[in-house]
C-alpha cells in the first residue's frame, strides 16, 4: 500500500504509528499515513527550530521566492512529483484525492486549478494583500515609500495550518505563505493527505529550501500543539473544533461561512434573472466551501424563489466519479451524511419550514446511494421567519434556506456572514453593507458567493497575519 511519511524539515520520516485511509467506495485501506507523536511535533517546533526554518527562506529575496512559487505552480499542476516513495502524476493525484474524499474528478481538477492559479499569480495576490507594497522591503525589513519610512516585522517564524478534508481549494489560502518568507507547518486533513503533500513536493522541486516545510499528520491533540507552538496559525473546521482558537489573535479561524445571496428591494421583482447565480452559489463544488451560499435572503418572493431553486437543484444527481458532469460529492464516511440529514430533519420538525426539494425527489430521503457512495441530495428549505432554526444553518452539502425579511433589517439580521453576493443597485442599501462589521467578502452584483478574487483578503489578510507594520524612525542627517 502507498505510504505517506511525515516531513520533518522537508525530510521524510516514517512513523511506527500509522493511520490507514480507506477508499470511500470500497471502504478498503487505500493509503497509509505516518502519524506524528506529540513529543516529536513539539520538539520539531521548538522556537530555535522554527527560527531555522524561517532562516532558510530569509536567505532568498522575495522576488526569488515568488519566481519559485510560480515554478511550483506549474510543477504542481502538470508534472510527476514524489508521493511517499512512489511517483505521482497529476492524473494520479486527481484519482487519489477522489478515492479518499469522494470528490468527483472534475471537482478535484477544478480545485487543482484554483491552487495552481493562486501560486502562478502569487505576485498579483501579494500585491492585492499588501496594497502594492514593494516586497523587497520584506528582504531588508525597512524602506521608504512616498517619503515615509516603512518597516515590517514578521509576526512569527512559521505558520501552522490545521487543514480540513472537505475540499482542496482551501490550500489556495496558505499557498502564498512561503513567498512571504514564512515557514509552513501543515497538519493535513485525515481523508485528504494528498494536496498539502503534493504542494510541498512542488515547492521542493522548484528549489525551495526543504528546511522550511513541515508535514505532520497527527491526532487532534497534536494538531493543537501545532497551533499553540507556531508563531502564527490557521485552522479550518466546524464551530466546535475551532472555538478554542476564536480568541487567539495568533490563529486565523476558518469555520462555517454562513455565506448568502441577498437580493435588494430594487431587484426583487427580477429574481428569475438571478436564479443561476443563486444556484451556483449554493451548489458549486458540491456546497463544500465556506463561500458556498447557505442562505438566500430577500425582501419578497421568497416562496417563489425557493420553489424555483428547489426545482433547479433537484436536477443535480449523483454521477460516477469520472463523469465530467459530476457536480455532487459523496461523503467519505456515510455516517456523516446520515447525521447531517437527521439534523436537517430535526430542524424541519419545527413549524415554519418546508423542504421544497422533497416533492422533486418524489418524497424520497435526501440520503442517496449511488455506485457505492453515499450522497446528500441538494436541499432547499423555505423558512417563513429568520428566527427558524434552519434559517441560518450551514451544512456540508448543497443546502440553503430561502428567507424573506424586511429591507430595513438587513444586513444586521444576516449575522456573521463570510461572503455576500449583493444583488442590488440601490446605493443606500449597498452602503449599509459596506458599513457592516459582520459581512466579510462582498461580491457586488450577480457574482456568485464562491467567486473569489485571491488578491482580496479572505477571513483576514494573510500578509497582515504574517507581517506587522513596525514604527520606524531614522536619525536626521
Amino acid at each position: 500500500m502507498l505510504h505517506l511519511p511525515i516531513l520533518r524539515f522537508g525530510q521524510p520520516y516514517r512513523s511506527l504509528d500509522v493511520a490507514t485511509v480507506p477508499d470511500f467506495r470500497t471502504r478498503k485501506p487505500y493509503v497509509s499515513v505516518s502519524q506524528a507523536n506529540g513529543g516529536l511535533v513539539r520538539r520539531d517546533l521548538l522556537p530555535q527550530n522554527q527560527a531555522q526554518m524561517r532562516k532558510a527562506l530569509d536567505a532568498l529575496p522575495v522576488a526569488e521566492l515568488i519566481a519559485r512559487t510560480k515554478k511550483a505552480a506549474e510543477l504542481f499542476a502538470h508534472e510527476t512529483l514524489p508521493v511517499g516513495d512512489q511517483a505521482q502524476t497529476p492524473a494520479d493525484y486527481v484519482r487519489q484525492v477522489s478515492a479518499t474524499t469522494g470528490l468527483p474528478h472534475v471537482m478535484v481538477r477544478r480545485n487543482l486549478e484554483k491552487i495552481r492559479g493562486v501560486m502562478e499569480n502569487v505576485d498579483v495576490v501579494l500585491a492585492g494583500l499588501t496594497r502594492g507594497l514593494p516586497l523587497e522591503i520584506l528582504d531588508s525589513g525597512a524602506g521608504e515609500i512616498a517619503g515615509h519610512a516603512m518597516g515590517f516585522a514578521p509576526r512569527g517564524d512559521a505558520l501552522g495550518v490545521v487543514l480540513p478534508s472537505n475540499s482542496p481549494g482551501v490550500h489556495a489560502l496558505w499557498a502564498p505563505t512561503i513567498a512571504l518568507k514564512t515557514a509552513l507547518v501543515l497538519k493535513p486533513g485525515s481523508a485528504e493527505p494528498w494536496s498539502p503533500y503534493r504542494i510541498i513536493q512542488a515547492f521542493l522541486a522548484a528549489g525551495m529550501p526543504s528546511e522550511a516545510f513541515g508535514y505532520y499528520p497527527t491526532d487532534h491533540a497534536s494538531a493543537g500543539e501545532i497551533l499553540r507552538r507556531c508563531g502564527r496559525g490557521m485552522v479550518f473546521g466546524d464551530v466546535s473544533s475551532t472555538k478554542r482558537w476564536a480568541k487567539d489573535p495568533r490563529v486565523e479561524v476558518h469555520g462555517p461561512g454562513y455565506s448568502k445571496v441577498v437580493i435588494g428591494p430594487d431587484q426583487a421583482d427580477d429574481w428569475e434573472r438571478y436564479l443561476d447565480v443563486m444556484a451556483s452559489s449554493i451548489a458549486e463544488n458540491s456546497g463544500r466551501s465556506c463561500v458556498n451560499a447557505s442562505g438566500v435572503w430577500v425582501t419578497k418572493h421568497g416562496r417563489a424563489i425557493a420553489e424555483a431553486l428547489g426545482e433547479r437543484l433537484a436536477r443535480v444527481v449523483p454521477r460516477a466519479s469520472e463523469d465530467p458532469e459530476a457536480d455532487l460529492a459523496p461523503f467519505a464516511d456515510p455516517r456523516i451524511a446520515e447525521r447531517i440529514s437527521a439534523m436537517v430533519d430535526q430542524g424541519l420538525r419545527e413549524p415554519g419550514a418546508e423542504d421544497v426539494t422533497m416533492k422533486h425527489r418524489g418524497g424520497r430521503s435526501r440520503v442517496a446511494e449511488f455506485d457505492g457512495g453515499t450522497y446528500l441530495l441538494p436541499t432547499i428549505v423555505h423558512c417563513d421567519s429568520p428566527e427558524h432554526p434552519l434559517a441560518n444553518r450551514e451544512f456540508l452539502f448543497p443546502f440553503a434556506s430561502v428567507v424573506e425579511v424586511p429591507e430595513e433589517s438587513m444586513p444586521e439580521i444576516l449575522g456573521p456572514t463570510l461572503a455576500v453576493a449583493l444583488i442590488s443597485d440601490d446605493e443606500a442599501f449597498r452602503r449599509r453593507f459596506f458599513a457592516s462589521h459582520d459581512v466579510h467578502r462582498l461580491n457586488l452584483g450577480p457574482v456568485p458567493t464562491q467567486r473569489v478574487a485571491w488578491d482580496q483578503p479572505h477571513e483576514g489578510n494573510l500578509f497582515e497575519h504574517l507581517w506587522a507594520r513596525r514604527a520606524l524612525q531614522r536619525a536626521t542627517a
Binding site: 512513523s15 511506527l16 504509528d17 507523536n37 506529540g38 513529543g39 513539539r42 520538539r43 499553540r228 478554542r244
Partner: protein, 363 residues
C-alpha cells in the same frame, strides 16, 4: 513480531509454572486462613460456600474466583484488606485513578519495597550507578510511586529528589479544555526539576512519565544534565514514543520503560529495538503477579501468542490477593524469554472496547 530465534524454554517454563503453582497454594492458604487472612476474603469464602485452601491446587484453579471487581477496592472500610497475619504493622494506602468518584485503594506494608528491590536487580548498574542520586518527576501524593521510587533510590544507595505532579488536576484541566493551564502546570513542574537537577550533579538517574520526559527534553539535554538512566512509566507508551525516546531524547542514556500499577506491582521490560519495531514488551514479576492476555468477549480464554486481547492481572502476595482482574488495557500476548520464562505482554494500550474514552497519558 520478533525476528529473534525462539530458544527452547520448555524446561524453564515448566519450572516457573511449578514455582507459580506452589506460590499460589501458599498465598491462598495465607489469605483464607482465619488466623492470617483479611476480612474481605474470609467473608468472601463464607458466602462462596467453598474453601479455596482445599480446592486451589495451582494457578489454573484461580479461575473459580471469577473476575476480581475493582469496585471492591472503592470505599471502606479499607481495613478489610489488612491480613490478620500483619496486624499491628504500619500500613500504607495507595490509590489509583480517582479523578472522579471514590478512588480505588490498596493497602501496602512491604510489597512496594519488595517489588522495587526485585525491579532494581533488572537495572544495569552502568546506567543506574549504585550511589547515584535520583530525580522523581511525576505523581506522588496517594500513589505508590511516592514511596516506591524513593525506596528504589535508597536501595541502590542514592537519595531521591522529588517534584510532584497531581494527575487528577491535569485530567480536570483537560476535561475543562484548559489546555494552556495544563501547559503552565507542566512548565511549573519541569522548572522545579531543572533547578534541582542543575544544582545537584550527583542526580544521574531519572524516573518520570512519558509526557514529562518529553517536556524535560524540550528544555534541556539529558546528557548535559548528567542523566545516565531513565526509568519511565506511569502511563501508556507506544512503540513510536519508545523509538522517539531512544533516537532523540536519550543521548546515550538507558531507557527502561515499565508497566505497573498499584494493584499489580511492577513489570519489567525486555529490551527491543528497530528489529522488533521498538515494541514495548513487559514481563510480570512472577510469581508475585501474573499478566495474561484474554479474549475480549470470552474473558476466561487466554488468546494465542501474538494475538490481541484484554490484559488480565493477578496479584499473589501475602499482602494482597487479586485474582483475575480485567485491566482497562489491551495488548498482544508475548512468548516467554530466557530471562522471564513465562508469558509477557506486547504494546499495552488503552482497551478499545470501552464505550467511553479513557483519559490516559495526560501526565
Amino acid at each position: 513480531m520478533s525476528t529473534t530465534t525462539i530458544p527452547d524454554l520448555t524446561a524453564a517454563a515448566a519450572t516457573a509454572r511449578e514455582r507459580l503453582d506452589a506460590h499460589v497454594r501458599e498465598i491462598v492458604q495465607w489469605h483464607f486462613d482465619p488466623a492470617t487472612g483479611c476480612d474481605f476474603w474470609l467473608d468472601w469464602a463464607k458466602q462462596a460456600g467453598w474453601d479455596p485452601r482445599q480446592e486451589v491446587k495451582g494457578y489454573a484453579d484461580l479461575e473459580r474466583f471469577g473476575n476480581f471487581q475493582d469496585e471492591w477496592l472503592r470505599g471502606g472500610p479499607v481495613r478489610k484488606w489488612v491480613p490478620k497475619g500483619y496486624a499491628g504493622k504500619p500500613v500504607s494506602l495507595f490509590e489509583t485513578g480517582g479523578s472522579t468518584g471514590v478512588p480505588k485503594a490498596r493497602i501496602n506494608i512491604d510489597d512496594f519495597r519488595t517489588d522495587y528491590e526485585n525491579f532494581s536487580a533488572t537495572l544495569p548498574d552502568q546506567f543506574f550507578p549504585k550511589g547515584a542520586d535520583w530525580m522523581h518527576i511525576g505523581p506522588s501524593g496517594p500513589r505508590r510511586l511516592r514511596l516506591a521510587i524513593e525506596h528504589l533510590a535508597q536501595h541502590r544507595g542514592g537519595i531521591c529528589f522529588m517534584v510532584d505532579l497531581d494527575p487528577r488536576w491535569v485530567i480536570k484541566l483537560i476535561k475543562w479544555g484548559e489546555i494552556e493551564m495544563v501547559e503552565k502546570y507542566k512548565k511549573h513542574v519541569i522548572d522545579q526539576a531543572l533547578v534541582l537537577m542543575k544544582a545537584h550533579p550527583n542526580i544521574q538517574c531519572l524516573f518520570t512519565t512519558p509526557k514529562l520526559l518529553e517536556a524535560l527534553c524540550e528544555r534541556a539535554s539529558l546528557k548535559q544534565l548528567g542523566i545516565k538512566g531513565v526509568f519511565c512509566g506511569g502511563t501508556e507508551m507506544t512503540p513510536q514514543f519508545h523509538r522517539f525516546a531512544q533516537e532523540e531524547l536519550m543521548e546515550g542514556a538507558y531507557f527502561a520503560p515499565t508497566y505497573g500499577n498499584t494493584l499489580m506491582g511492577l513489570a519489567t521490560h525486555r529490551e527491543t529495538g528497530p528489529d522488533e519495531g521498538y515494541a514495548i514488551v513487559y514481563y510480570p514479576p512472577a510469581p508475585r503477579a501474573m499478566i495474561e492476555v484474554v479474549d475480549k468477549e470470552q474473558t476466561d480464554r487466554v488468546v494465542g501468542y501474538g494475538e490481541t486481547g484484554r490484559v488480565r492481572l493477578t496479584t499473589l502476595t501475602r499482602e494482597f490477593f487479586m485474582p483475575r482482574f480485567l485491566e482497562r488495557d489491551e495488548a498482544e500476548r508475548e512468548r516467554p524469554c530466557e530471562r522471564y520464562p513465562w508469558d509477557g505482554v506486547r504494546n499495552v494500550r488503552p482497551f478499545s472496547g470501552f464505550a467511553t474514552t479513557v483519559v490516559e497519558g495526560v501526565y
